[in-house]
C-alpha cells in the first residue's frame, strides 16, 4: 500500500510537471536578461512635486499598507503625511469610502493578502510603506496591470527594472537630513571636547572619539543614512570613528535598547539610529540620567520629550510626496516612476533641537541647509571620505536585472556621489573608512 501511495504521488507530480511547463517563458522574461551595461534602463529621477500631470479627473479611492501603526515612529510619519495630504486635497482620511488603511502588515504573504483586499475594495491608488513590501507590491502591480490602478512602493527600488507602468517608487533625500543631524551631533562633540568632558574611555586606539549607530538591516537605505550622519559629524569634528550594530528588524525596542547600552558601555558619546522604536533614545536617556556623557540623535519623530539627552531627529516630511501623488492620481495623471525630494522640496528636515544642543548649533544648521539647497555642499563629497584608503572615482548605482547587485550607471561625477540619482531609493552602499560594522545584520 505504501508503494501504491508513493506511486500515486509520483503520478500526480508528473501531471503537475506537464502543466507547470507553461510558465517557463514568463520566468525567462523576468529573470533571464543578463546584467550587461547595454541593457541598463537608465532612470531619470524627477523632483517635480509642483508639476502635476493633468488628465481626466478620476474618483480616487486610496489604499494604504503600513508595516506598523500609530505606535511605531516610521509608520506614524507616513500616516501623518497621508492625513495632511488628504486634508489639503479635500479627502477625508477617516472615510473608508475614500481611504482604506491596512496597518501592521508584515513583509510577507500578509502584504499580498492586504493588497488583494484593497484591489477588491476598489482602491485605485495603493501605497505600501516598507522596503520589504515591494516584492509583493510589484507582484500585485503585475497581477492587476489590466486594471486602472497605480501602485507605489514607498522606499522601494525596483519600479524601473520591473518595466511596469503602474508601479512607482518614491523616497526622500533623507540622507541630507541625516547629514544635518550629524552636524548637530558634531557641534555637541566639539563642545564636549572644548569643555574637557571627553575621556580616554571615549576614544579609540587611534585617538578618535567613538560614536555608535543602531541600524536595522545592512541595506542601502541604512548604509546611505549612517554614512551621511557620520560625514555630518566629521564635518565638525575630524577625529571621530563610528560603529554600526544591526538589529535585523525595523522595529524591535529591546534589541535597539540593547545595542545602545552596549555602545554606551563601550564609551560611545553620541548614538544615532535607523530603527523605528524609542528603545535606543530611552537607553541613552537612562544612562544620561546616571551621569554618563552620552547623547542621542534619533529618527522619524521629535523625541525631545524623552529628556535632555535627545539632541534632535532626522525626519521626512512625507506629506510633500503624498500630496503630489494623490493630486496627480486625482487628475488622472501618471505618478512619476521615481520621485525624490530633499531640503529643496521641503521633504526632509530635522526636528526641534533639544535643550542640550551646543550653542551656535541653530546658526550652523541653517548655514549647512542653505549650502545643501544652493548645491554648494554635497553630502557624499568624494574628497571627504575614502574607501580602503583611496578616494572613490567610480560606483555603479543601478540594479538592472533584479538580483539586488548594482551592475550599471556610474554615479560618481563632479567630485561627489550622486545619491538617489538613477532611482529614488538610496543606492549608496560603499563602506567608507572610519565606520565599522559590528555584525552582518543576519
Amino acid at each position: 500500500m505504501l508503494r501504491k501511495f508513493i506511486s500515486v504521488m509520483l503520478v500526480c507530480a508528473m501531471a503537475l510537471c506537464v502543466f507547470a511547463g507553461c510558465s517557463d517563458e514568463q520566468a525567462a522574461e523576468a529573470f533571464g536578461t543578463s546584467g550587461t551595461k547595454e541593457l541598463c534602463k537608465s532612470g531619470v529621477v524627477s523632483t517635480v512635486a509642483s508639476e502635476v500631470a493633468e488628465g481626466t479627473k478620476v474618483d480616487l479611492k486610496i489604499g494604504v499598507v503600513l508595516i506598523g501603526d500609530n505606535t511605531e515612529t516610521y509608520s506614524k510619519a507616513h500616516i501623518d503625511g497621508i492625513r495632511t495630504a488628504c486634508e489639503n486635497l479635500g479627502i477625508d482620511p477617516d472615510d473608508s469610502e475614500q481611504v482604506i488603511w491596512k496597518m501592521t502588515v508584515g513583509e510577507d504573504a500578509a502584504c499580498a493578502t492586504a493588497l488583494d483586499e484593497l484591489v477588491a475594495q476598489g482602491c485605485n491608488l495603493i501605497f505600501t510603506n516598507s522596503y520589504g513590501h515591494q516584492t509583493y507590491t510589484q507582484a500585485a502591480a503585475e497581477k492587476y496591470k489590466d486594471q486602472d490602478i497605480q501602485f507605489v512602493a514607498m522606499t522601494g527600488d525596483t519600479a524601473i527594472s520591473s518595466g511596469l507602468d503602474n508601479l512607482s517608487n518614491a523616497f526622500t533625500e533623507v540622507y541630507e537630513a541625516r547629514y544635518v543631524s550629524g552636524v548637530v551631533a558634531g557641534m555637541k562633540l566639539k563642545e564636549l571636547v572644548d569643555a574637557g568632558k571627553i575621556t580616554d574611555k571615549n576614544m579609540d586606539a587611534d585617538g578618535n572619539i567613538k560614536i555608535g549607530y543602531v541600524g536595522a538591516y545592512p541595506f542601502a537605505e541604512v548604509v546611505s543614512g549612517y554614512t551621511a550622519f557620520y560625514l555630518g559629524v566629521k564635518s565638525v569634528v575630524e577625529n571621530v570613528s563610528m560603529s554600526v550594530s544591526y538589529t535585523s528588524s525595523w522595529h524591535d525596542s529591546d534589541k535597539e535598547a540593547e545595542a545602545a547600552r552596549s555602545f554606551i558601555s563601550d564609551g560611545c558619546v553620541i548614538i544615532s539610529q535607523h530603527a523605528d522604536s524609542e528603545g535606543a533614545p530611552m537607553a541613552v536617556q537612562n544612562a544620561y540620567n546616571e551621569g554618563t556623557v552620552v547623547y542621542s540623535v534619533s529618527y522619524n519623530v521629535d523625541l525631545t520629550s524623552i529628556g535632555e539627552a535627545i539632541l534632535t531627529s532626522a525626519t521626512n516630511n512625507w506629506a510633500v510626496y503624498y500630496e503630489y501623488a494623490i493630486k496627480t492620481a486625482m487628475n488622472g495623471g501618471k505618478i512619476a516612476t521615481n520621485w525624490i525630494g530633499g531640503y529643496e522640496q521641503d521633504a526632509v528636515k530635522i526636528t526641534t533641537l533639544g535643550s542640550q544642543a551646543a550653542a551656535g548649533t541653530e546658526e550652523k544648521v541653517n548655514e549647512v541647509i542653505a549650502a545643501i539647497k544652493a548645491g554648494t555642499l554635497h553630502v557624499f563629497d568624494t574628497s571627504k571620505f575614502t574607501v580602503g584608503g583611496k578616494n572613490v572615482t567610480w560606483a555603479y548605482a543601478t540594479d538592472s536585472d533584479g538580483d539586488f547587485n548594482y551592475d550599471c550607471n556610474n554615479v560618481v561625477a563632479d567630485g561627489y556621489y550622486h545619491e538617489s540619482y538613477t532611482q529614488s531609493a538610496p543606492s549608496f552602499t560603499l563602506r567608507i573608512d572610519g565606520i565599522t560594522e559590528l555584525n552582518t545584520g543576519n
Binding site: 511547463g21 477617516d94 510577507d108 543576519n442
Partner: protein
Amino acid sequence: MKDQTAKTESKRDPLVRLVKRDSVSAARSVIVHAAAILLAMLVCGIFFVIVTDSSIIEIYSAMVSGTIRNSITVNSFFKEACMLLIIAVGLAPAFKMSFWNVGGQGQVLAGGMAAAMWLYYLGNKLPNAAIIPLMIISAAVGGGIWALVPAIFRVKFSTNETLFTLMMNYIAIQLVKYLRITWSPIHALGMISRKAGSMPSLFGNQNGWIYVIAAVAVIMMYVYMNKTKHGYEISVVGEAPNTARYAGISEFRVIIRTAFISGAICGLAGFLYVSAIDHTISETMGGGYGFTAVIVAWLAKFNPIFMTLISMLISFIRSGSSEIVSRNTTTLDSSIANINIGIFLFFMLGCEFFLNYKIVFRGGKEAGK
C-alpha cells in the same frame, strides 16, 4: 450550620453534578451545534456592535457582501478554506489513531522549507516543470520526517507525542527564521523568487491547483480511512490498542506509517504556500493554520464533510472580519479576525462538553440520555 448538615447527610448529592451521556442522538447533536453557532454569531456580532457602532444586521450583511464582493474576495475565501482543509485532512488520520499530532504548523513549515530550498538553489536555473515536482516530493518528505521523529520516539520510548510534536513546531520556526535570511535576496524580506517554482494557474485561476489538491486530498483521505485496510488498522490502533495487538496488527508499523502520511500532507500544504501563495518562507506562513487545523479536525470528528464545512466557516469569519476592519480602518486592525475565530471555536468546543455530559442539579434525574 450548613457544613454540619452536609457532614451528617454524607449521602446527600452536591448541587451540580456532571453525568456522562451514554450516547448522543443525531438530532440532539445538530441542535446543540446549531445553538453553539448561533450563540457564537451573537457574541461576535455584539463584539462588533460594541467596537464599530453599527447594528448586528449591518455587521453580518457586510461580512457576507465582503466575502462575495467580487472574484478576488471569493477566490481568497476559497483559498483560505482549502488551505485550512488540506492541513486538517493531513492531521485527521493521526488523531484517529490517538496520535495527538499538534505539530501541524511545524510540518507545514518543514514542507515549506524543503520546497523553498529548490527555489534558492535551482530557481531560474531549471524550468519550473522540473522544479515543481522536486518541490512537491521534498515537501512531502520534509513534512513527513517532521512527524516521523516524534512517532519513532513514541513507539520506541513511549514519549508523549503531544509535547514532542509541539516542540518540533518551535524547531521548525527557528529554522525558518534562519533560512529565510539566507535565502531571501534582501535579507529576510519579500519573496525568494516571484516566478521560479510558481504554480501555474489552472482554468485561468491562480488558485486552481489549490482547489483541485484540496478536493483530491479530502476524497482520497475519505477512501483511505473508510475503505482500506490501513484505515481499519488506524481506527483499531486508535480505539483499542490491545485489540490491535491481539489481532496481530503491528502498532509500530501503523503509527510510523500514519504519522508519516499525516506529516507529508501537511508538508504538501507547505509546498502550496511556497509555490502558489507566499513565494517565500516565513515563520508566519499559513497564519497559524497548523494549529487551527487541529481544532478543525477534532471538531469534525475527522469527517471530511464536516471538516470542509468548518474550514469554510472559519474562512468566512476571516474574510467577513476583514471587511468590517476595512470599513473601520482607523479604529480596528486585522487581529479582529483572530478574535472572532477564537470566539467561534470557543463555542464549538464548548458545545462538545454539553453533548458528552449532562448537568444534573440536586434532586434531578440521573440517567442522562
